[in-house]
Amino acid sequence: MVATGALGAVGAAAVAWPFINNLNPAADTLALSTVEVNVTPIAVGQAVTVKWRGKPVFIRHRTEAEIKEAEAVPMSQLPDPETDNKRVTDTAKKVRPEWLIMIGVCTHLGCVPLGNKPGDPKGEYGGWFCPCHGSSYDTSGRIRKGPAPTNLVIPDYLFTSDSLVRIG
């Protein structure tokens, strides 16, 4: 009796799983999971937005001043402490402080922060500013003020040469 019930429950779970899993990302969606970008056209101080997995990815060619500013921030001032160095390291552990590559989605509720285009407001900390609920990010994309709980997310990326970066 108990055994029958248990086996039945296993069967029910096995039937339920395809229905639940059906809603997960499909193979064609997953296939778009990496993107390659040539970074040579991006001048110092400029940034571009590329689309990756339906999300905007910010690639910023940082100025010396921006790098210095990001490195100088004491960890105690950060709601989500993380060194600048760690945020500019690719998957091969190579550090390129001039390239900041991160997902341009506010960690609060998923808006796209402003600050990538020349005329955009950059917020109090000179990085990015989310217009939805007022989160401000610094020149390393770290959260400094506002409701966002964590820093802008760094995706896995790898510089396959000095000019080519693969995201994902």
Partner: protein, 411 residues
Amino acid sequence: MASSHGTPPVFNNKVIAWVDHRLPIFSYIEKEYHTFPTPRNFNYFWNFGAIATVMLVLMIATGIVLATNYTPHVLMAFDAVERIDRDVPQGWLIRDLHMNGASFFFIAVYIHIFRGMYYGSYKAPRELLWMLGVVIFLLMMATAFMGYVLPWGQMSFWGATVITNLFSAIPVVGESIVTWLWGGFAVDNPTLNRFFALHYLLPFVIVAVVALHVVALHVHGSNNPTGIDVKGPQDTVPFHPYYTMKDGFGVMVFLIIFAAFVFFAPDYLGHPDNYIPADPLVTPAHIVPEWYFLPFYAILRAIPDKLGGVLAMFGAIAVLFILPWLDTSRVRSCTFRPIYKWFMMLLVVDVIVLGICGSKPAEGFWVPLSQLATLYYFAHFLVLLPILGKIERPLPLPPSIADSVLKKKAV
């Protein structure tokens, strides 16, 4: 009581009698909507259950017709809605009815909820009736949210993004849940397609829960403005024609106001940004949900912590489920509760203040104001309600409903 009245009806029409003998639907209608004994002292607040039902039927009817012309695809949805507006015969009418109908459905339901709270309709023996109502409210919110995504304008897209992202606040599994909800790595075509499917499905689930809501209502019958129980036939009138006619009149008045919006200000309750096609790379300056979500949106933003905000928002609705057990008073109606009555009014003001806060950008004095209003919202249910019931001295209750009606007449 519903069970204790009258003999089974006799039908003169042979066909009706034949059917009823095999499937007693006519007896059921006769018993529950004709002779059903209903308190004789309802005020116009008791119209809103019928009004909400009319709106539900209207939403389903217009929705089915719209679905025959709609295309749930990110490249075509915006244009499909515009085509309904421009080229489909009287498509503009059906669409304006549907999009304003959502707002007016919520207006009716909010007034209906207020009436239940003010007159203590949630108290024993109507706790389950009330809880089924909260379930309906939740289902309505889910349906309305997914429906707002379908025109695929800027507010559709960003509203969906903000709300689905709420689930990412759940520790550990949050991100996987959000990916599962989206069917991808962002709100995109799979999301739109499944929202359409669910938006079509959920209203029928609402119909089913409404049926249970009515079954539960007819077990003990309706509450009434005095909150005292029906004591005998002198306290009631048959539902038809007394309340069918009164409800009919109330529905007409409501529909006149509704029609004024549909025909003369169809976009007044909407947001202009939703006439801009969705663009995943451009965030609108202020993301505002539909007006009926604003109080809850304000509660979400009032808490400076992501998970905390999400919990508070869901808590604001969850607290309604346990309302019958938070109220410790021995009388139902606020009419006889001299102190709580004013706090009930304050709650209405509070929810309106929250709504206004929700429509403003989260900056300046709106932030502390929304925090204060959130604090009152929870304090009202969790602190004031249990304590006041113990210390407040209710006014003397009339001996019966009939008595209260006769006394009114004498004044």
